[in-house]
Symmetry: C2
Subunit: 350 residues, 2 copies
């Protein structure tokens, strides 16, 4: 019966399927069936077993279970060393959806762990599948091989190469970025537009730059080298870049497309501290549409990354791969939309 004192005070750790079987007066096979295939057990027996399970606070040993079923209901998540909002939002969405579907998340933010060789006892062998986010092109040749060789279902976020024989989810940076740059070019001539991004190896930054160049060319302007600056996704980089532009007297009456919101805000702060008015003398658009955009003044125009959609899609995808390994890998492309705000308003809107 419930509430048995002897059983409720003992540590649950020592309760095995055997103890449950004894208490319920059945075999361990029947206990297992009650847990896994209750249809194959008579209702009365099942009730008796369930009562025993409750009394003893029995929980199956997942190692033993995994040894047989080769399933843990754990999904591995490998993230690059990204920072802040995007990362935490993605994690929450991944966790939320995984939880709803009865899975758990094993997380590692060290991208290098993914491709680590067999030699280091990698706990990812415990997972049923792997979600890998990639943001850097460096060493991707190696990675492609490494990813294809992972002996688990894999979903890759951030890159979709022909060589990748796994499920992929990418964001259509280009379309979103195009809209942003078109917006800038409408009120600022292409020769006075600037791109400030991360380093060359960053996939997102480079594709946003590609869109920037495309639009300028479409408007009859071949981008000059000095219209393109690269370093990193940081507030400080935006600040430094703006300072040197200000020192050269080149920042006024320009428009800047920054590869993320932090860079954009660094630029905006430097400009304001030196008396350059936004958007009157300098129009700015960021990328990511982070919460920052609405916190700063003037509010920052940006391109919205569909973070929650990525998280949702990634979980759906990996679980499909896990539960239907024979299905063909799909390749999803999510849209990024331009969100105009005060920081890039054109003269007539001021």
């Amino acid at each position: 019966m419930k509430g048995n004192e002897a059983s409720s005070t003992q540590r649950t750790g020592s309760v095995s399927i055997r103890s449950v079987a004894e208490r319920a007066g059945v075999s361990i096979a029947t206990v297992s069936r009650v847990l896994n295939t209750p249809d194959k057990v008579s209702a009365t027996t099942a009730d008796r077993v369930r009562a025993a399970i409750q009394d003893l606070e029995y929980r199956p040993n997942l190692f033993a279970k995994g040894l047989l079923t080769k399933r843990s209901r754990v999904i591995g998540v490998s993230l690059p060393d990204i920072h802040g909002e995007f990362y935490s939002e993605l994690m929450f969405k991944l966790d939320e959806r995984a939880c709803e579907l009865g899975y758990h998340l094993l997380v590692s933010s060290n991208a290098h762990r993914v491709n680590s060789g067999p030699e280091n006892g990698f706990a990812l062998d415990l997972v049923d599948g792997l979600i890998v986010m990639i943001t850097e092109r460096s060493g991707v040749e190696l990675d492609l091989d490494g990813i294809n060789r992972i002996d688990h279902p894999v979903v890759v976020i951030g890159i979709d190469e022909p060589g990748l024989d796994v499920e992929t989810i990418v964001v259509d940076n280009v379309a979103g970025a195009r809209k942003a740059v078109e917006h800038l070019v409408q009120a600022t001539t292409p020769d006075r537009c600037y791109f400030v991004g991360a380093h060359r190896g960053n996939i997102d930054s480079e594709s946003r730059l590609g869109a920037f160049c495309d639009v300028l060319k479409a408007h009859g302007h071949e981008p000059r080298a000095d219209q393109i600056a690269r370093r990193e996704f940081s507030f400080d980089w935006g600040w430094d870049w703006a300072q040197s532009m200000l020192d050269e007297g080149k920042l006024e009456d320009t428009a800047v497309f920054a590869a993320n919101d932090e860079i954009a805000i660094g630029i905006a702060n430097a400009a304001r501290d030196r008396g350059v008015e936004i958007p009157e003398q300098l129009r700015i658009v960021g990328f990511d549409d982070s919460q920052l955009c609405s916190l700063v003044r003037p509010k920052l125009s940006s391109v919205r990354m569909p973070v929650k959609e990525i998280g949702f899609a990634a979980i759906e995808a990996i679980i499909r791969r896990i539960e239907e390994p024979e299905s063909a890998p799909r390749h999803a492309r999510l849209a990024a939309s331009f969100i105009p705000r005060q920081s890039s308003a054109s003269p007539e809107e001021h």
Copy 2:
């Protein structure tokens, strides 16, 4: 030999300790020893076994291993539904330290999962120990019981109650908050100081409020009800609060201690949008010392949460509990330091 074609193309999933033993011409016991207790194996045998392991890309089945050793080198992390920077910084630090020590992280942001009963196949049974972060007092009575009954080593972050027989790590909110309020009271009389925080159930918010009240009392002023406002940790709440204060003409010439940076920035933005100068007419201090503090203008004074220290300490603690279960649980208290910036500068500093 290395590079054997047949073996390098086969799926590693099917390679068991048996295949390695056969290839190396030894028993499976010896293979196991090479992996776990190499001292007990002769050097030449060990080399032969290692070669076989490499050739076959053998990786031990962690379920089988866990079944025997009852260890997975996975640490469970249960976080409340916190947002943004604090969360991601904490996660990164946890992961970094765990990685260095050869552990992995199983993460869940749903606090309710921790106390979930035995009935739902909780993957946390795979973990060696659990780091639980608690921020809400509601239902803690239940939780204390639940936490004490978890049959794994546990480290609790955020609360340190007599009833908790586990390792705890807390931040000394009070000392940090005191310094912040003392700073405000030096240039603004206590009757014109306000506290804007989260809801009553939030542990951090309430302890910061406690410090606020203490300091006011120490300066001979009993806080009025209207000096204390509670709702949530959000930009919008700060904004709304400031709007109603402005509507009543009460915001000017006051000082505000906000329970986090977001609230503080909401207040600052509302004030600025209505022409109230900071810090001349309104002095503000936030809490957390997030990156936002340096991004906004004027820069926001804040109290620094030792996030990295918390993460580091939590991993150290849980691993100590795991590896030395008999050692007495410790109770750590980390300091929070006041970081003055422009937003709360007193008149003589302007």
